[in-house]
Protein backbone atom coordinates (compact mmCIF):
# COMPACT_ATOMS: atom_id res chain seq x y z
CA UNK A 1 0.00 0.00 0.00
CA UNK A 2 1.62 3.28 -1.01
CA UNK A 3 2.14 5.94 1.61
CA UNK A 4 0.04 8.98 1.04
CA UNK A 5 1.81 12.11 -0.06
CA UNK A 6 -0.76 14.83 0.06
CA UNK A 7 -0.04 18.10 -1.69
CA UNK A 8 -0.40 21.27 0.40
CA UNK A 9 -3.87 22.72 0.75
CA UNK A 10 -4.14 25.43 -1.81
CA UNK A 11 -6.37 26.15 -4.72
CA UNK A 12 -4.59 25.16 -7.93
CA UNK A 13 -4.18 27.66 -10.69
CA UNK A 14 -5.44 26.09 -13.91
CA UNK A 15 -2.72 26.09 -16.51
CA UNK A 16 -3.69 28.15 -19.51
CA UNK A 17 -3.24 26.97 -23.07
CA UNK A 18 -1.93 29.49 -25.58
CA UNK A 19 -3.60 29.00 -28.94
CA UNK A 20 -3.13 31.71 -31.55
CA UNK A 21 -5.72 32.93 -34.03
CA UNK A 22 -3.93 31.85 -37.26
CA UNK A 23 -3.68 28.30 -35.94
CA UNK A 24 -7.38 28.28 -35.10
CA UNK A 25 -8.24 29.68 -38.48
CA UNK A 26 -6.27 26.95 -40.26
CA UNK A 27 -7.79 24.28 -38.02
CA UNK A 28 -11.26 25.62 -38.81
CA UNK A 29 -10.54 25.01 -42.49
CA UNK A 30 -9.78 21.36 -41.70
CA UNK A 31 -6.00 21.63 -42.09
CA UNK A 32 -4.70 18.33 -40.70
CA UNK A 33 -1.38 19.81 -39.54
CA UNK A 34 -3.11 22.63 -37.67
CA UNK A 35 -5.55 20.19 -36.08
CA UNK A 36 -2.66 17.99 -35.01
CA UNK A 37 -0.88 20.98 -33.47
CA UNK A 38 -4.06 22.03 -31.70
CA UNK A 39 -4.32 18.51 -30.30
CA UNK A 40 -0.73 18.63 -29.06
CA UNK A 41 -1.28 21.97 -27.35
CA UNK A 42 -4.52 21.15 -25.62
CA UNK A 43 -4.73 17.38 -25.15
CA UNK A 44 -3.15 17.30 -21.70
CA UNK A 45 -5.56 19.89 -20.34
CA UNK A 46 -8.56 18.17 -21.91
CA UNK A 47 -7.44 14.73 -20.75
CA UNK A 48 -6.93 15.86 -17.12
CA UNK A 49 -10.34 17.47 -17.02
CA UNK A 50 -12.00 14.43 -18.62
CA UNK A 51 -10.38 12.11 -16.08
CA UNK A 52 -11.47 14.27 -13.19
CA UNK A 53 -14.99 14.61 -14.48
CA UNK A 54 -15.54 10.94 -15.35
CA UNK A 55 -13.28 9.23 -12.81
CA UNK A 56 -12.38 6.59 -15.37
CA UNK A 57 -9.28 6.70 -17.54
CA UNK A 58 -10.69 4.62 -20.36
CA UNK A 59 -13.91 6.64 -20.59
CA UNK A 60 -11.80 9.79 -20.41
CA UNK A 61 -9.81 8.63 -23.44
CA UNK A 62 -13.08 8.06 -25.29
CA UNK A 63 -14.24 11.54 -24.35
CA UNK A 64 -10.95 13.07 -25.51
CA UNK A 65 -11.38 11.25 -28.80
CA UNK A 66 -15.01 12.36 -29.11
CA UNK A 67 -14.12 16.00 -28.46
CA UNK A 68 -11.19 16.18 -30.87
CA UNK A 69 -12.91 14.26 -33.66
CA UNK A 70 -15.80 16.75 -33.59
CA UNK A 71 -13.60 19.79 -32.97
CA UNK A 72 -13.20 20.86 -36.64
CA UNK A 73 -16.97 21.26 -36.91
CA UNK A 74 -17.25 23.00 -33.55
CA UNK A 75 -14.49 25.57 -34.06
CA UNK A 76 -16.86 27.74 -36.08
CA UNK A 77 -18.76 28.47 -32.85
CA UNK A 78 -15.71 29.93 -31.12
CA UNK A 79 -15.95 33.69 -31.38
CA UNK A 80 -12.74 34.49 -29.54
CA UNK A 81 -14.36 36.51 -26.74
CA UNK A 82 -13.19 34.04 -24.07
CA UNK A 83 -9.97 32.04 -23.70
CA UNK A 84 -9.92 29.06 -26.03
CA UNK A 85 -9.40 26.78 -23.05
CA UNK A 86 -12.78 27.78 -21.61
CA UNK A 87 -14.46 27.05 -24.92
CA UNK A 88 -12.73 23.68 -25.17
CA UNK A 89 -13.61 22.62 -21.63
CA UNK A 90 -17.18 23.71 -22.30
CA UNK A 91 -17.24 21.32 -25.26
CA UNK A 92 -15.84 18.57 -23.03
CA UNK A 93 -18.47 19.15 -20.36
CA UNK A 94 -21.31 19.11 -22.89
CA UNK A 95 -20.11 15.94 -24.61
CA UNK A 96 -19.41 14.19 -21.30
CA UNK A 97 -22.98 13.10 -20.61
CA UNK A 98 -22.87 9.80 -22.53
CA UNK A 99 -19.33 9.02 -21.40
CA UNK A 100 -20.27 9.65 -17.79
CA UNK A 101 -23.06 7.09 -18.07
CA UNK A 102 -20.59 4.63 -19.59
CA UNK A 103 -18.08 5.23 -16.80
CA UNK A 104 -20.71 4.74 -14.12
CA UNK A 105 -21.92 1.54 -15.80
CA UNK A 106 -18.35 0.31 -15.97
CA UNK A 107 -17.87 0.93 -12.25
CA UNK A 108 -21.03 -1.09 -11.61
CA UNK A 109 -19.73 -3.86 -13.85
CA UNK A 110 -16.50 -3.94 -11.87
CA UNK A 111 -18.51 -4.09 -8.67
CA UNK A 112 -20.53 -6.97 -10.08
CA UNK A 113 -17.33 -8.93 -10.49
CA UNK A 114 -16.35 -7.95 -6.95
CA UNK A 115 -13.34 -6.19 -8.35
CA UNK A 116 -13.51 -3.04 -6.31
CA UNK A 117 -14.47 -3.23 -2.72
CA UNK A 118 -15.33 0.30 -1.72
CA UNK A 119 -16.66 -0.74 1.67
CA UNK A 120 -13.32 -1.50 3.28
CA UNK A 121 -12.09 1.85 4.48
CA UNK A 122 -11.45 0.98 8.12
CA UNK A 123 -7.99 -0.58 7.94
CA UNK A 124 -4.92 1.49 8.88
CA UNK A 125 -3.47 0.93 5.42
CA UNK A 126 -6.52 2.53 3.93
CA UNK A 127 -5.85 5.68 5.92
CA UNK A 128 -2.71 6.20 3.92
CA UNK A 129 -3.98 4.81 0.64
CA UNK A 130 -4.18 7.58 -1.91
CA UNK A 131 -5.74 5.59 -4.68
CA UNK A 132 -8.53 4.26 -2.51
CA UNK A 133 -9.34 7.74 -1.30
CA UNK A 134 -9.61 9.03 -4.86
CA UNK A 135 -11.66 5.99 -5.79
CA UNK A 136 -14.07 6.64 -2.94
CA UNK A 137 -14.46 10.25 -3.99
CA UNK A 138 -15.21 9.16 -7.56
CA UNK A 139 -17.88 6.78 -6.26
CA UNK A 140 -19.29 9.52 -4.07
CA UNK A 141 -19.34 11.83 -7.10
CA UNK A 142 -21.58 9.26 -8.81
CA UNK A 143 -24.28 10.15 -6.29
CA UNK A 144 -24.42 13.75 -7.55
CA UNK A 145 -26.44 15.04 -10.43
CA UNK A 146 -24.48 15.72 -13.62
CA UNK A 147 -24.75 19.48 -13.10
CA UNK A 148 -23.57 19.33 -9.48
CA UNK A 149 -20.74 17.03 -10.46
CA UNK A 150 -19.58 19.39 -13.20
CA UNK A 151 -19.75 22.42 -10.90
CA UNK A 152 -17.83 20.63 -8.15
CA UNK A 153 -15.11 19.33 -10.47
CA UNK A 154 -14.65 22.72 -12.15
CA UNK A 155 -14.57 24.68 -8.92
CA UNK A 156 -12.95 22.33 -6.40
CA UNK A 157 -10.82 19.96 -8.44
CA UNK A 158 -9.86 22.12 -11.41
CA UNK A 159 -9.58 25.22 -9.25
CA UNK A 160 -11.50 27.60 -11.48
CA UNK A 161 -13.10 30.69 -9.98
CA UNK A 162 -16.89 30.73 -9.86
CA UNK A 163 -16.97 33.08 -12.82
CA UNK A 164 -14.67 30.87 -14.92
CA UNK A 165 -16.62 27.75 -13.96
CA UNK A 166 -19.83 29.54 -14.92
CA UNK A 167 -18.32 30.38 -18.31
CA UNK A 168 -17.39 26.74 -18.94
CA UNK A 169 -20.72 25.34 -17.74
CA UNK A 170 -22.74 28.05 -19.45
CA UNK A 171 -24.76 28.96 -16.34
CA UNK A 172 -24.83 32.01 -14.02
CA UNK A 173 -22.14 32.35 -11.38
CA UNK A 174 -24.65 32.08 -8.53
CA UNK A 175 -25.86 28.75 -9.90
CA UNK A 176 -22.33 27.40 -9.75
CA UNK A 177 -21.99 28.51 -6.12
CA UNK A 178 -25.29 26.89 -5.16
CA UNK A 179 -24.44 23.66 -6.97
CA UNK A 180 -21.02 23.44 -5.33
CA UNK A 181 -22.57 24.07 -1.90
CA UNK A 182 -25.10 21.26 -2.35
CA UNK A 183 -22.50 18.99 -3.94
CA UNK A 184 -20.19 19.37 -0.94
CA UNK A 185 -22.99 18.53 1.48
CA UNK A 186 -24.00 15.47 -0.53
CA UNK A 187 -20.40 14.30 -0.86
CA UNK A 188 -19.80 14.60 2.86
CA UNK A 189 -22.95 12.59 3.53
CA UNK A 190 -21.95 10.00 0.94
CA UNK A 191 -18.44 9.62 2.37
CA UNK A 192 -20.06 9.18 5.78
CA UNK A 193 -22.35 6.53 4.34
CA UNK A 194 -19.33 4.70 2.93
CA UNK A 195 -17.97 4.57 6.46
CA UNK A 196 -15.31 7.23 6.19
CA UNK A 197 -14.88 9.51 9.15
Amino acid sequence: MPIAVITPLRRPVPSSVAVDAPLLSRARGGNAVALGRLYELTQHRVRCFARRLLGDDAAAEDLVQDVFVHLPGLLGRYRGDAPFEMFLLGVVSRRARRHLRTAMRRRKLHDRFALCDPASPSTPEWESGRHELADLLVRALDSLSREQRLAFVLREVEGFTASEAAQVAGVPEATIRTRVFHARRKLQAELGRLGVS
Binding site: G30, H44, C48, R51, A58, E61, L133, V157, Q188, S197
Partner: protein, 218 residues
Protein backbone atom coordinates in the same frame (compact mmCIF):
# COMPACT_ATOMS: atom_id res chain seq x y z
CA UNK B 1 -15.36 15.46 7.23
CA UNK B 2 -14.59 18.69 5.43
CA UNK B 3 -10.91 17.97 5.79
CA UNK B 4 -11.33 14.46 4.44
CA UNK B 5 -13.23 15.74 1.43
CA UNK B 6 -10.51 18.29 0.73
CA UNK B 7 -7.88 15.60 1.05
CA UNK B 8 -9.75 13.33 -1.33
CA UNK B 9 -10.08 16.19 -3.81
CA UNK B 10 -6.33 16.85 -3.68
CA UNK B 11 -5.54 13.19 -4.20
CA UNK B 12 -7.91 12.97 -7.16
CA UNK B 13 -6.35 16.11 -8.63
CA UNK B 14 -2.82 14.71 -8.26
CA UNK B 15 -3.70 11.26 -9.59
CA UNK B 16 -5.35 12.60 -12.69
CA UNK B 17 -2.65 15.13 -13.52
CA UNK B 18 -0.27 12.43 -14.71
CA UNK B 19 0.91 13.06 -18.24
CA UNK B 20 -0.49 10.33 -20.47
CA UNK B 21 0.96 9.17 -23.74
CA UNK B 22 -2.35 9.29 -25.64
CA UNK B 23 -0.75 7.86 -28.79
CA UNK B 24 -3.56 5.40 -29.46
CA UNK B 25 -6.16 8.10 -28.82
CA UNK B 26 -4.39 10.36 -31.30
CA UNK B 27 -4.46 7.59 -33.91
CA UNK B 28 -8.18 7.16 -33.33
CA UNK B 29 -8.75 10.90 -33.58
CA UNK B 30 -6.81 11.11 -36.83
CA UNK B 31 -8.83 8.16 -38.15
CA UNK B 32 -11.97 10.10 -37.21
CA UNK B 33 -10.76 13.18 -39.07
CA UNK B 34 -9.99 11.01 -42.09
CA UNK B 35 -13.48 9.48 -42.01
CA UNK B 36 -14.99 12.96 -41.80
CA UNK B 37 -13.01 14.00 -44.87
CA UNK B 38 -14.18 10.87 -46.73
CA UNK B 39 -17.80 11.56 -45.74
CA UNK B 40 -17.41 15.21 -46.76
CA UNK B 41 -16.06 14.20 -50.18
CA UNK B 42 -18.92 11.72 -50.67
CA UNK B 43 -21.46 14.39 -49.72
CA UNK B 44 -19.88 16.88 -52.12
CA UNK B 45 -19.99 14.31 -54.92
CA UNK B 46 -23.62 13.51 -54.13
CA UNK B 47 -24.55 17.20 -54.12
CA UNK B 48 -22.69 17.82 -57.37
CA UNK B 49 -24.36 14.79 -58.96
CA UNK B 50 -27.80 15.95 -57.86
CA UNK B 51 -27.10 19.45 -59.19
CA UNK B 52 -25.94 18.06 -62.56
CA UNK B 53 -29.06 15.88 -62.82
CA UNK B 54 -31.28 18.86 -62.03
CA UNK B 55 -29.54 21.13 -64.54
CA UNK B 56 -29.50 18.52 -67.32
CA UNK B 57 -33.05 17.42 -66.61
CA UNK B 58 -34.28 21.02 -66.55
CA UNK B 59 -32.42 21.83 -69.76
CA UNK B 60 -33.76 18.77 -71.54
CA UNK B 61 -37.31 19.56 -70.43
CA UNK B 62 -37.01 23.16 -71.63
CA UNK B 63 -35.60 22.00 -74.96
CA UNK B 64 -38.41 19.47 -75.42
CA UNK B 65 -40.97 22.11 -74.59
CA UNK B 66 -39.51 24.53 -77.14
CA UNK B 67 -39.29 21.79 -79.74
CA UNK B 68 -42.95 20.84 -79.26
CA UNK B 69 -44.00 24.47 -79.62
CA UNK B 70 -41.87 24.87 -82.74
CA UNK B 71 -43.31 21.75 -84.44
CA UNK B 72 -47.04 21.66 -83.65
CA UNK B 73 -47.83 19.42 -86.65
CA UNK B 74 -45.31 16.78 -85.90
CA UNK B 75 -47.21 13.48 -86.09
CA UNK B 76 -45.13 12.01 -83.35
CA UNK B 77 -46.46 14.46 -80.86
CA UNK B 78 -49.99 14.43 -79.63
CA UNK B 79 -50.84 17.69 -78.04
CA UNK B 80 -53.67 17.55 -75.65
CA UNK B 81 -55.85 20.16 -77.19
CA UNK B 82 -59.01 19.46 -75.31
CA UNK B 83 -61.25 22.25 -74.25
CA UNK B 84 -59.74 24.09 -71.33
CA UNK B 85 -60.42 27.27 -69.48
CA UNK B 86 -58.71 30.28 -70.85
CA UNK B 87 -55.29 30.93 -69.50
CA UNK B 88 -54.82 27.37 -68.38
CA UNK B 89 -51.80 25.55 -69.74
CA UNK B 90 -52.59 21.97 -70.64
CA UNK B 91 -49.95 19.38 -69.96
CA UNK B 92 -48.14 17.92 -72.93
CA UNK B 93 -48.75 14.29 -73.68
CA UNK B 94 -45.98 12.70 -75.68
CA UNK B 95 -46.64 9.37 -77.30
CA UNK B 96 -43.65 7.33 -76.28
CA UNK B 97 -43.61 4.90 -79.20
CA UNK B 98 -43.70 7.50 -81.97
CA UNK B 99 -40.31 8.37 -83.43
CA UNK B 100 -39.32 11.99 -83.07
CA UNK B 101 -36.81 13.41 -85.50
CA UNK B 102 -34.82 16.22 -84.03
CA UNK B 103 -33.95 18.70 -86.78
CA UNK B 104 -32.30 21.68 -85.37
CA UNK B 105 -33.22 25.02 -86.86
CA UNK B 106 -32.03 28.46 -86.01
CA UNK B 107 -35.13 29.09 -83.87
CA UNK B 108 -34.83 25.96 -81.80
CA UNK B 109 -32.96 25.97 -78.61
CA UNK B 110 -30.33 23.31 -79.04
CA UNK B 111 -30.54 20.55 -76.54
CA UNK B 112 -27.66 20.73 -74.09
CA UNK B 113 -24.96 18.25 -74.98
CA UNK B 114 -25.13 15.22 -72.78
CA UNK B 115 -21.46 14.64 -72.37
CA UNK B 116 -20.94 14.33 -68.65
CA UNK B 117 -22.81 11.65 -66.77
CA UNK B 118 -23.87 12.72 -63.31
CA UNK B 119 -21.18 11.55 -60.93
CA UNK B 120 -22.31 8.74 -58.68
CA UNK B 121 -20.64 8.67 -55.31
CA UNK B 122 -18.43 5.67 -55.02
CA UNK B 123 -19.07 3.40 -52.07
CA UNK B 124 -15.81 3.65 -50.17
CA UNK B 125 -14.54 0.86 -47.98
CA UNK B 126 -14.17 3.46 -45.25
CA UNK B 127 -17.88 4.28 -45.51
CA UNK B 128 -18.88 0.64 -45.08
CA UNK B 129 -16.54 0.33 -42.12
CA UNK B 130 -17.86 3.54 -40.61
CA UNK B 131 -21.46 2.43 -40.85
CA UNK B 132 -20.58 -1.01 -39.46
CA UNK B 133 -18.81 0.67 -36.56
CA UNK B 134 -21.73 3.04 -35.97
CA UNK B 135 -24.20 0.14 -35.92
CA UNK B 136 -22.08 -1.79 -33.44
CA UNK B 137 -21.63 1.32 -31.30
CA UNK B 138 -25.39 1.94 -31.23
CA UNK B 139 -26.18 -1.67 -30.28
CA UNK B 140 -23.54 -1.56 -27.55
CA UNK B 141 -23.89 1.89 -25.99
CA UNK B 142 -27.45 2.93 -26.81
CA UNK B 143 -29.50 -0.25 -27.04
CA UNK B 144 -27.21 -2.26 -24.78
CA UNK B 145 -28.14 -5.37 -26.72
CA UNK B 146 -25.03 -7.40 -25.95
CA UNK B 147 -25.58 -10.35 -28.28
CA UNK B 148 -26.37 -8.08 -31.22
CA UNK B 149 -23.45 -5.81 -30.38
CA UNK B 150 -21.12 -8.81 -30.20
CA UNK B 151 -22.13 -9.87 -33.70
CA UNK B 152 -21.72 -6.34 -35.04
CA UNK B 153 -18.28 -5.81 -33.46
CA UNK B 154 -17.19 -9.15 -34.94
CA UNK B 155 -18.52 -8.05 -38.33
CA UNK B 156 -16.65 -4.75 -38.10
CA UNK B 157 -13.43 -6.57 -37.22
CA UNK B 158 -13.90 -8.92 -40.19
CA UNK B 159 -14.34 -5.90 -42.47
CA UNK B 160 -11.29 -3.99 -41.23
CA UNK B 161 -9.20 -6.31 -39.08
CA UNK B 162 -6.31 -3.87 -38.84
CA UNK B 163 -8.40 -0.70 -38.80
CA UNK B 164 -7.64 2.32 -36.67
CA UNK B 165 -10.60 1.54 -34.43
CA UNK B 166 -9.82 -2.17 -34.16
CA UNK B 167 -8.47 -1.91 -30.57
CA UNK B 168 -11.68 -0.29 -29.42
CA UNK B 169 -13.78 -2.88 -31.25
CA UNK B 170 -11.81 -5.73 -29.67
CA UNK B 171 -12.23 -4.25 -26.22
CA UNK B 172 -15.94 -3.64 -26.68
CA UNK B 173 -16.27 -7.19 -27.95
CA UNK B 174 -14.69 -8.39 -24.72
CA UNK B 175 -17.17 -6.33 -22.69
CA UNK B 176 -20.07 -7.89 -24.63
CA UNK B 177 -18.68 -11.36 -23.93
CA UNK B 178 -18.48 -10.49 -20.24
CA UNK B 179 -22.08 -9.34 -20.19
CA UNK B 180 -23.09 -12.58 -21.90
CA UNK B 181 -21.18 -14.46 -19.22
CA UNK B 182 -18.78 -16.02 -21.74
CA UNK B 183 -15.87 -15.44 -19.42
CA UNK B 184 -13.30 -17.65 -21.13
CA UNK B 185 -13.81 -15.94 -24.48
CA UNK B 186 -13.75 -12.55 -22.79
CA UNK B 187 -10.52 -13.45 -21.00
CA UNK B 188 -8.92 -14.50 -24.28
CA UNK B 189 -9.87 -11.16 -25.83
CA UNK B 190 -8.72 -9.18 -22.80
CA UNK B 191 -5.40 -11.01 -22.67
CA UNK B 192 -4.18 -9.15 -25.75
CA UNK B 193 -4.79 -5.83 -24.00
CA UNK B 194 -3.22 -6.95 -20.74
CA UNK B 195 -0.13 -8.19 -22.55
CA UNK B 196 0.35 -4.80 -24.17
CA UNK B 197 -0.43 -5.78 -27.75
CA UNK B 198 -2.27 -2.48 -28.11
CA UNK B 199 0.23 -0.46 -26.11
CA UNK B 200 -1.13 1.07 -22.95
CA UNK B 201 -4.63 1.31 -24.38
CA UNK B 202 -7.06 -0.28 -21.85
CA UNK B 203 -4.15 -2.23 -20.43
CA UNK B 204 -4.79 -1.57 -16.75
CA UNK B 205 -8.52 -2.04 -17.15
CA UNK B 206 -8.02 -5.34 -18.97
CA UNK B 207 -5.71 -6.54 -16.21
CA UNK B 208 -8.27 -5.62 -13.58
CA UNK B 209 -11.04 -7.39 -15.47
CA UNK B 210 -8.89 -10.50 -15.95
CA UNK B 211 -8.16 -10.53 -12.23
CA UNK B 212 -11.83 -10.23 -11.42
CA UNK B 213 -12.72 -13.03 -13.86
CA UNK B 214 -10.12 -15.23 -12.25
CA UNK B 215 -11.41 -14.36 -8.76
CA UNK B 216 -15.04 -14.94 -9.61
CA UNK B 217 -14.40 -18.31 -11.26
CA UNK B 218 -12.47 -19.64 -8.28
Amino acid sequence: MNDLLDRAVRVLRDETAVQADGAITRQRIEAGWMQQRVRGRAMRRLTTGAAVVLVLGGGALAATNLFVRACPDNPGLTLARTARPEGHQAPLAIAPSAPVLMTSTADEAPAPPVTARPARPRVEVADVATSAYAAAHRAHFVERNWSQALGLWTRYLRLVPGGQLAPEAHFNRAICLLHLDRRDDAAAELQSFASGRWGSYRQSEARQLLESIATSSR
